[in-house]
């Protein structure tokens, strides 16, 4: 076993574009917006960047789009694609390069321009060159499978479960209403969420996230160098990652009410960060609420609530903005939408601001540790990343 990444890499600057339907902006605009905010925040010159990692799923290939947008000067750039974990994985690789001592200052940047395709939705229409016999099952359909089973497994009537899910949507929208960078900044009422049309039974309109454009960036260096730039740099405490190999689809005893990849990735991150009791020790968590049911299951998988008790815990308000452990205090995917290649670093941006005490109306009191979580794939086989940050 290798060593923990804990306290070996520091974030000295971050940027995040406004998320939304950015009809007037292309991927270059979104990268420039995010990167230059990060440069300014870190107080560095763009030519200080020694290497970069670009996370994007469908807004360009190779590292060249970042070099061209930011005019990086022949530095090494790796393009990373790992579904919904793309941004966090780009960040993770940048972290390891700094920890390896190969580079002093690096850039991790994620971007996605989704609103140029002419259709809505995130694809899933079968790769060209395949047999095309499997049904097209977009993400809400896949996650709805977990919601149906959750109701059955824990004997919670579906209408009760839907109330819990609606409550999660209400919470995230309440948080997002306080975030000027969010795509959707409106509070909603529980009744409004409950009476929305069905998208993929049992998930309704407010259970699903939207399609948005966005970009986010982070500047990383060693803790020693970080001190030269600022006092309130943020340290990486642990990174966990787990990649499924279709176990849940191939093994008929997989239950669809937990996501094993969440458990594995979070345990790995907790071990690195030295966390024994996540509920007690972690102050806030930006988790992948692509669907409300996903957030509910993540809550249990990450150890914030006992198995089957996620609904009760959410009902108590312990995951609200001023609760014991705030989940998606920035509004989550519910309010930001999901520009796939950018979401992970957008989450880190909020944790970074929270730990610096700069989160404005969403600020938590003296946060010590914050967490980000991404999940790409479908129940049965996911890619999952969990990262933990502190001062």
């Amino acid at each position: 076993m290798g060593q923990s990444i804990r306290d070996k890499v520091a974030i000295i600057g971050m940027g995040c574009s406004k998320f939304g339907e950015r009809w007037d902006s292309d991927a270059t605009d979104l990268m420039v917006e995010a990167a230059y905010e990060a440069y300014e925040d870190a107080g560095i010159d763009p030519k200080d960047i020694e290497a970069a990692w670009l996370g994007t799923v469908q807004s360009g290939m190779t590292g060249q789009p970042a070099a061209a947008a930011l005019k990086l000067d022949y530095v090494p750039i790796t393009r990373v694609e790992n579904a919904c974990c793309t941004a966090t994985d780009a960040f993770r690789n940048a972290v390891y390069a700094v920890a390896a001592g190969v580079h002093d200052i690096v850039l991790a940047i994620g971007v996605e321009k989704l609103k140029d395709t002419g259709w809505t939705g995130l694809g899933g229409f079968g790769l060209p060159g395949s047999s095309m016999v499997e049904a097209n099952t977009p993400p809400p359909v896949q996650f709805a499978l977990a919601a149906t089973r959750y109701s059955y497994h824990y004997k919670i009537p579906m209408d009760e479960l839907k109330r819990t899910l609606a409550r999660i949507a209400v919470k995230n929208h309440k948080n997002g209403a306080l975030n000027p960078k969010a795509h959707f900044q409106k509070e909603i009422k529980l009744e409004q969420a409950l009476r929305a049309p069905m998208v993929a039974y049992p998930l309704g309109l407010f259970d699903c996230c939207g399609v948005s454009d966005g970009g986010a960036a982070a500047i990383l260096t060693t803790p020693e160098l970080a001190k030269k730039f600022r006092d309130d740099y943020v340290l990486v405490k642990g990174i966990g990652m787990a990649v499924g190999g279709q176990q849940g689809m191939l093994q008929d005893d997989y239950d669809f009410v937990h996501f094993e990849e969440n458990v594995r990735a979070s345990q790995m991150a907790y071990k690195e960060a030295g966390i024994k009791d996540p509920l007690e020790e972690i102050d806030h968590a930006m988790v992948h609420d692509c669907f409300t049911i996903t957030e509910l299951i993540i809550t249990e998988d990450l150890g914030f609530a006992p198995r089957g008790k996620g609904p009760e815990c959410h009902e108590t308000g312990m995951f609200d903005k001023d609760g014991q452990l705030a989940i998606n205090v920035d509004g989550g995917l519910k309010c930001f939408g999901h520009p796939i290649g950018a979401s992970g670093i957008r989450m880190i941006y909020e944790v970074y601001k929270q730990l610096q005490g700069k989160a404005g109306p969403r600020q938590r009191k003296n946060p010590k540790l914050g967490l980000t979580h991404n999940l790409g794939g479908r129940p049965g086989s996911f890619t999952c990343t969990v990262a933990i940050f502190g001062r």
């Binding site: 995130l122 977009p138 993400p139 209408d159 959707f184 909603i188 009476r195 929305a196 049309p197 039974y201």
Partner: protein
């Protein structure tokens, strides 16, 4: 079992990141000597991660126990209803509503 039903405004667009909807009407339908409340809505899903669609749909909160008995802190009327859990009854009511309303889906809350 009794549960509250909070009435939200009709003909008002409710927006979400993935689309919007509005409720057209609330209907009190006689059924086996009792009264059932259902509401009819029209949803447009235009920018969700799952594609695009739209539909008219009905939601059945349940049997009416107390109609608009009080108002809540937001000034919205609140009724008491009894949710319908029996699958057979649900099927029957669903068929009945589909006969009278142009709805694609009937959901029970």
């Amino acid at each position: 079992m009794m549960r509250t039903y909070t009435h939200i405004e009709l003909d008002q667009e409710v927006q979400s990141i993935g689309g919007h909807y509005s409720l057209d009407k609330e209907v009190r339908m006689p059924y086996n000597g009792r009264e059932i409340l259902y509401i009819v809505g029209l949803g447009i899903i235009d920018t969700s991660c799952c594609g695009m669609g739209g539909c008219r749909y009905a939601i059945v909160p349940g049997y009416v126990i107390n109609w608009k008995a009080r108002t809540n802190q937001h000034g919205l009327a609140v009724s008491d209803v009894e949710p319908i859990r029996d699958e057979g009854t649900r099927r029957e009511i669903s068929a009945h509503i589909k006969k009278t309303e142009l709805v694609q889906v009937v959901d029970f809350h």
